[in-house]
């Protein structure tokens, strides 16, 4: 049979591939995907992501001041207007300018509260870029780990950054396989869907602080 050596070859290739993947995943920064990396995007996430984490990890700073600096750090890191648009999903097309003007600050406050609490659950101290993948020019996935602080073993966190050269902004963050902005969009769109397409219902609910106080 001719298929036997072929299959053996295929198996060997598979094995090599699997082990390359394993090794690659273990080292992450391995040279295997060096050609696909974007140093500019990586440097951006390293600097601005670290800043956000440092602010949250700072125990000596008074809360009010921390909130203020956190806000600035988020603005430097993330493209808030773009995210604000994204989380509306299909309703980004139909929202009225008046509704948008109300939604924008309400979403911001909501997201800050929610994410600050959530990040507190996994407070780390050090962000390390482990690699990146260019999805297409200007759309890059940066892989990092966060360690130190309350984190026992390095926690992988993935960032989606859009931009070019030295100008980048994060639009989404993935943690345990779950993208925050995508999840937020599905939450919001479902809420609006169930309100018969009325964006005001979502805005009012966000003002009250989510479903807890409904």
């Amino acid at each position: 049979m001719t298929s036997s050596p072929t299959r053996r070859g295929a198996n060997a290739a598979l094995l090599t591939f699997a082990s390359a993947l394993t090794i690659g995943a273990a080292t992450l920064a391995g040279p295997a995907f060096a050609q696909a990396r974007d140093p500019g995007a990586e440097a951006f996430v390293q600097a601005k992501g670290q800043r956000v984490i440092s602010v949250l990890a700072n125990k000596s700073m008074p809360d009010a001041q921390k909130k203020q600096i956190f806000k600035q750090a988020v603005d430097e890191l993330a493209d808030v207007p773009r995210i604000t648009n994204f989380v509306l999903g299909k309703y980004a097309r139909t929202i009225t300018p008046e509704q948008k003007a109300r939604f924008t600050p309400v979403f911001r406050t909501y997201a800050e509260n929610v994410y600050q609490n959530r990040i507190d659950d996994y407070r780390g101290e050090k962000l390390t870029v482990t690699g990146s993948v260019i999805r297409k020019p200007g759309d890059v996935i940066v892989n990092t780990t966060i360690s130190g602080g309350q984190i026992k073993s390095p926690l992988p966190v993935t960032w989606r950054v859009l931009g070019s050269g030295q100008t980048w902004k994060v639009v989404d963050v993935q943690f345990k396989g779950v993208w925050l902005a995508i999840t937020q969009q599905q939450d919001f769109v479902s809420t609006i869907d169930n309100a018969g397409g009325n964006v005001d219902v979502l805005i009012n609910q966000l003002q009250k602080g989510g479903s807890n106080r409904r």
Binding site: T22, N85, F86, R118
Partner: protein, 288 residues
């Protein structure tokens, strides 16, 4: 993950089981509490870049397949109610009286008992090296690691790498099918539901150590539920903070499971274009 009664004759045990697992369903975001140690299960996009598809809106990350949404929502609401009055308080009590170190030991032991099933799945996925590593992990941690309490193997450069039948089916190309929120089991889809049943049925630890008819099986289930719920706590709080907790849990579960499968296949994630909202924006589309 957990044990399940294989004999419908054992009614008492079965009923207790049903209650216990009902609670577990409340811990629902089971998926979000992936075994904490299995952190490399998080996708790290190991594949070379692939050009994004021309049609952005049908990306897997945004796909929702939930034909039974009405029933699922009712089941979700029920489960969250049970969590609120029963399982949540128990888990919070457990978290209050035990330090992190103790809970870590418990998580390690629970994970360790799942390791044989992990090995089976690595083999079925055609990953002999992972299977070998998981086997070594089980042997080392069960002995030197004192019945799995200490993850000694991780320190020997053998980090945990979880696998289950749902993932295996995914690597074989099975599609997730409809999303389900089963009161007894929590969030899943058809693929992972079949997978979970097989996980229990073929679990070597259950076969050798005993199912729910044994003290070991009962203790294992109880500890697994407690550990799962405690690990899920941050995720559950995130779900409760959302506007539509049901939709949020569905989205997070779906993404988590797809990421878990990509972790095994090494495929690149298909993401939606960030700046193009979906075209179909009817002004009013109330859900059924």
């Amino acid at each position: 993950m957990s044990d399940q009664p294989q004999s419908p004759r054992r009614k008492a045990a079965g009923r207790r089981f049903a209650v216990a697992v009902g609670l577990m369903s409340a811990a629902s975001v089971l998926a979000l509490a992936p075994v904490a140690q299995a952190q490399e299960a998080v996708p790290t996009v190991p594949a070379p870049p692939v050009s994004a598809p021309a049609v952005a809106d049908d990306s897997a990350a945004l796909a929702v397949n939930d034909p039974l949404e009405g029933a699922n929502r009712a089941s979700f609401k029920f489960s969250m109610g049970v969590d609120k009055v029963l399982l949540g308080p128990i888990a919070h009590g457990y978290m209050a009286v035990t330090p992190d170190v103790v809970r870590d030991r418990v998580s390690n032991a629970v994970y360790n008992l799942g390791e044989p099933n992990t090995v089976i799945n690595h083999v079925l996925q055609g990953k002999p090296k992972r299977a070998m590593r998981s086997t070594t992990r089980f042997l080392v941690n069960s002995t030197i690691g004192v019945l799995g309490l200490f993850d000694v193997a991780a320190k020997m450069n053998l980090p945990p790498r979880a696998a289950d039948f749902g993932q295996t089916f995914g690597t074989w190309g099975a599609q997730p099918g409809a999303y389900l929120y089963v009161p007894v089991m929590g969030p899943m889809n058809v693929r992972d539901g079949v997978g979970r049943a097989l996980d229990i049925f073929t679990d070597p630890v259950r076969i050798v150590g005993g199912g729910l008819d044994t003290d070991f099986g009962k203790a294992r289930l109880a500890v697994t539920i407690l550990d799962t719920r405690a690990l899920a706590d941050p995720a559950l709080r995130a779900v409760k903070d959302s506007n539509d907790p049901y939709a949020t849990a569905r989205s997070a579960y779906t993404q988590y499971r797809e990421a878990f499968i990509r972790e095994a296949t090494g495929e690149m994630e298909d993401l939606p274009d960030f700046d193009t909202p979906p075209a179909d924006a009817p002004p009013a589309t109330p859900n059924p």
